[in-house]
Symmetry: C2
Subunit: 449 residues, 2 copies
Amino acid sequence: MDYTLVQKEIQFALHNSKDPQQLFDLVYSLRPYDISEVMKGLSPEDQIDLISKLPIPTAAETLEYLEPEMQYHILRHLKDSVASPLLKQISSDAVVDMLLAIHPLQAQRLLDLLPEDYRDKINQLMTYPEYTAGSLMTVDYISARAHWNGEQALQHIRKVGHEAEIISYIYVTDIRGELVGICSLKEIILASPDTRLGDIATKDIISVPADMEQEEVANILSRYDFYALPVVDHQNRLIGIITVDDVVDVIQEEATEDFQKMGGSSPLSEPYFKTSIWELFRKRILWLLVLFIGGAYTANVLEKFSDTLSKIVELSFFIPLLTGTGGNTASQIVTTLVRALGMGEVKFQDLFRVIRKELLTGILLGLSLGMIMYLRAMMMGVNTNIGWVVSISILVIVLWSSLVSAVLPLLLHRLRVDPAVVSNPLITTLVDGTGLIIYFTTAKLLLHL
Amino acid sequence: MDYTLVQKEIQFALHNSKDPQQLFDLVYSLRPYDISEVMKGLSPEDQIDLISKLPIPTAAETLEYLEPEMQYHILRHLKDSVASPLLKQISSDAVVDMLLAIHPLQAQRLLDLLPEDYRDKINQLMTYPEYTAGSLMTVDYISARAHWNGEQALQHIRKVGHEAEIISYIYVTDIRGELVGICSLKEIILASPDTRLGDIATKDIISVPADMEQEEVANILSRYDFYALPVVDHQNRLIGIITVDDVVDVIQEEATEDFQKMGGSSPLSEPYFKTSIWELFRKRILWLLVLFIGGAYTANVLEKFSDTLSKIVELSFFIPLLTGTGGNTASQIVTTLVRALGMGEVKFQDLFRVIRKELLTGILLGLSLGMIMYLRAMMMGVNTNIGWVVSISILVIVLWSSLVSAVLPLLLHRLRVDPAVVSNPLITTLVDGTGLIIYFTTAKLLLHL
């Protein structure tokens, strides 16, 4: 969608028109996401003007798509009588994200706009650490009592539904706030109006604690195809819900992060074009240096074998091919395992199954590549013995790479380190030097050097 | 969750108990996903027995979590009077997935169980190619007319809602089936019962064509935080909807595939432990061979420079470090760009911006690494001139790797090839040989060999 034209029209309507209908018509056909995209191109004054002229629910949703600084700037410059209901309408997880991103004093100013009980809730939400269930949840859910019937529940939804983020589920709590059942709105509507919620609610509830890691939350929600998940405290009291749209964002973000880590750079916190060259440099140089230092010993290995090398210079021809193949095998295994660990398919307890599987596959791969390596060496017209050296080396290198790449990700996961730090470049660097040692040791043994 | 105990109890209830209540109590506390996990450990006879004793909606949802072969086996062995309503209750996208996975003759047998109009719909759905919007959509949505009021809409939902996959949105169509508006159930419930749907429905609809790629569908749905997206034909007639749970699966699958591709192996179609060693071998050897052939020319390059090498054997010490660093830089860039292309953040039109950004970052990285490389060479006590050769080479290699890795993913995306085929191993292999040429050419020029 191209926003240039509609942006011009909106600017015109804001500046020149005395007829509010004109602006209304323009904005009416846009979704909050689209309005937020248009907003990004407007002057600060126009941004504030536009938000103040939107219906509160639309304005709130539009604000949710903007960056925290812009959200704060707009809210700060609206009259309190506008800012206060607007802030209250924004879903609580978005409010928390904004408040945590801006300066604490600025956050306090905004908090003062909220009624006291809601302010307490927000303050409570702000205590949950990033990347946990607590940080994803919203308190804008609908709860009900087990003795209500369907008709009463619908009346309740009509009363409080405006503020709820999702009305697909109604959470049944007891007098102590404990979560005792979940009804879907579908069940309520399909049942007869006088059925008690207690009779249609699912009693065996899947809920998550506030300190669960967001990746695990995403796995649970996607496994059961839920639209929302309840979050409970240690006493099983309902404290919030996590909706599927936030989980979709989590899944996308986590995949992007793992991707960038696997490529051997620290994950970018912004989209590509928003990241400055200096920032790209900073994110990349760190790992390049680690890898450089890790790889620097290859030079010592080669220096140590320089006698062998100067006696048979042909041995050097195969260095990149041998280390390269070892690195390629390692990359294949590491990426597969890192992803499988992330998706919860593989656990540390599976270590020996994984090693067995990878070594057996490694034997097949090593034998195939060994044969081809022999043919390649013969094609170059080198001595038959060198042919044997390279083909036996490649088998041993593939097996060694398989073992290292099978163990390392699982071990790191066990130690609660993100296994994605074993990036493709890291594992390649690790098996490069050891591959050289295998190669030259084989050469010395077989060629009696 | 450990299913061993409940599985034993269910087996006992199926075999020994005459009291159906016992089985009911056991299954009542389980969700369809959990029942499907229990099913996987049961004998084929018990599977059929259990499914036939579940309420139809639960049985249908449980079946959806099973593999196509198992689904077919169970449906085939149920009485037609049970299988027919059960098959009709399964959501249409799941039915299509199953029918496409089993033998056409088996599929025909199942299709014969369906009423004619529904069979036609399923046959139509089966024509959409894999990985498109059409293949993800279900026809189990709720449509309504613009002149209905809220009360009529709710009555309609009560009547047909049992078969709908999601009731959060009601799709308003005109007499020709054209999609003219969308109401959320929330809006209907919050509005007064006599409000016409036409007055509350969003008219400016975001819909997707049936042939849109699933990755793009996922991007749209996650951008707008929708729970479902309507799919229309070329005449804007509503033909189905795509629900967010299927999109979550798509996002997870696409990320897993891209992950495995980036690691340099063909994506696995099954979870890790379900993939046999032979299958792992097949998925990996293909790319290893491609990479081997791609890398084999490094041996020729080194052979060509063997004169230089035998004159100054120290030059060989730095081969793995130089090619390694080139490969690492390339991996960082390629993973970032492949992900950014997948998320729609970067397009082919941005080519020159990307090249400029990567070359400028490359200069910073190359200069830093060049300095460190010089120090490293000096530490090993090699000739100062060799120090200059290696540090100038690393700068040129980093710049060259940056250029290649900036251009290649964008070019492939433009040519409608998945850019993830430029895996980390592939780009590493590509820049390995060219890195050697850069290195030895620099050596020859600077050392006057």
